[in-house]
Structure formats: structure tokens, C-alpha cells
């Protein structure tokens, strides 16, 4: 009985791995999002990281190269996107963005975490690794 239980659990896990890695087409860059593709993007991936930014925000400019680097490190594991809050104020309001840069973490569209302010690659990496561990 116990062995059967373990077998079933493994079977379920294999199924979810297949869903995560082979069906999804992962982006290979930080995707520019707007109201047309935002919801679809966050719902599509087991883990997505969205950077809310504005062109006038100095720290936001420093965030982009960090996300680009992370998108290479986590290729096919995490989807990275960014949303210009100035051009997409409805979404900024929906997600209650009050300070930028602002990172939101989603799992299949469900918000799992957020952070405000410029963060180092190491700090963001730590958060991502924790969320990926939860997936396993």
C-alpha cells in the first residue's frame, strides 16, 4: 500500500515535469509586456518574474541588465517580462505599484511574492531558487 502510494506520487510528479519543460515554449529574452499580452504571459509559465518600471526611473534602468543576465541563467526555467507603468497605468493600479522598480513573482498567473527597490542579481537569484525548489 505504502509502495503504491509512493509510485502514484512519482507518477504525478513526472506528469508535472513534462508539463513544465516540454509543452511550454520559453522566451529567451526579457519580454516587453503591455495590456494585450500581460495576463496571457503570467498565466502561461510555472514561474514568471515581472519588472514594473518607468522610463524616468533611474534605478529601473539598472534593473534591466540584471534581468537580462538572469533570463540567460534561468533559460527554460523562468520567464522574465517587464511592464512600463507609465504606459500601462491600469495594470500598475491593479497591482498597486507604489514604488519602482517593483518585481512581482507569479506561478501560472497567481502572485506568489513581490519586492520593491533595486535588487542585486544575487538577491533575485536567491528568491528564484527558493521558488524553483518549491516546484520540485
Amino acid at each position: 500500500m505504502l509502495a503504491l502510494g509512493i509510485f502514484k506520487h512519482k507518477e504525478k510528479k513526472q506528469g508535472s515535469v513534462q508539463k513544465n519543460s516540454s509543452i511550454i515554449k520559453w522566451p529567451d529574452h526579457v519580454v516587453n509586456l503591455d495590456k494585450k499580452n500581460f495576463e496571457e504571459f503570467i498565466k502561461k509559465y510555472p514561474l514568471s518574474v515581472i519588472d514594473f518600471w518607468a522610463p524616468w526611473c533611474g534605478p529601473c534602468k539598472a534593473m534591466l541588465p540584471r534581468l537580462r543576465r538572469l533570463s540567460v541563467i534561468y533559460k527554460s526555467k523562468v520567464a522574465f517580462g517587464r511592464l512600463n507603468t507609465q504606459e500601462n497605468q491600469d495594470l500598475a493600479k491593479k497591482y498597486k505599484i507604489a514604488g519602482i522598480p517593483h518585481l512581482e513573482f507569479f506561478r501560472y498567473g497567481k502572485k506568489i511574492s513581490s519586492s520593491v527597490g533595486l535588487k542585486s542579481v544575487g538577491d533575485i537569484k536567491k528568491d528564484i531558487d527558493d521558488f524553483l525548489k518549491e516546484e520540485d
Binding site: 534605478p59 497605468q89 500598475a92 493600479k93
Partner: protein
Amino acid sequence: MEMETIKRFLDKNNTIGFIGATIQKEKWGYKKYKEIKDAGFEVYPINPKYDKIDGDKCFPDLNSLIEFLNKKPDFVVTIVPPKITEKVVEQCKEFGIDKVWMQPGSESEKAIKFCEENDIEVVYGTCIVVDALQKL
């Protein structure tokens, strides 16, 4: 930085001293002051160069604002050179103001360290986006 920190600052019941407000409409010292005011916050401009900004009484320093209000503001925003921010945080300690939001460019390591050593909650590396908080 957690969202809770931002929420603690951007509570609509908070009174804000805005240090470095200006009449020059192209500058962030005007744009951000106006944005915060238009978002419905009780915000007071502080700049010794002006008597009025956008029709509002402008205060030469924190002390005169506190005398006018007969209480201290709940937090101050700095949008001034880092050297001035370093003096502002010392005044905050003197007046018992325990929250400072340093707009990017106004912060310095010395000012941040001073806040951390004196139990002043400090936000830096993050731009205020209160327009996103309207009509929630």
C-alpha cells in the same frame, strides 16, 4: 524591500514633508510634489527659495513646518542633493521623524547609515509612483 514598508509610508492618513519641492515644472521636485498632492496626500513643500509652490505655502525648513502644523510630519521625502539629505536625516532624528523616503539621487551611504543607526525607517533606490495608487 517589502510591500508592507511602502504601504506604511504611503498611507493616505500620513502627513508628508516634501524637501526639495520646486516651482520649476520640468524638474522632478515639482512633478513628484504635484503627483503626491494630486493623489490626495497631505503634503507640504519645503524649500527656502520659495514662498509658494503650485499655490501652496512653502516652508523654509522642517522646523517651520512643524511649528505651522503643531506636529511633526509622519515622513519626509527628500529630492535634494545627498549632502543636504545628510543634514535632513539629522534634523529628522532631532524632531523624532522616523521615516524618510530618499528619492533616487538624493541618497548617500552616510545618510542611509545614519537612518539605520538611529531607528529611522528609510526607503532608497525606489521611485514613488503614487499616481498608480489613485482610484483603487
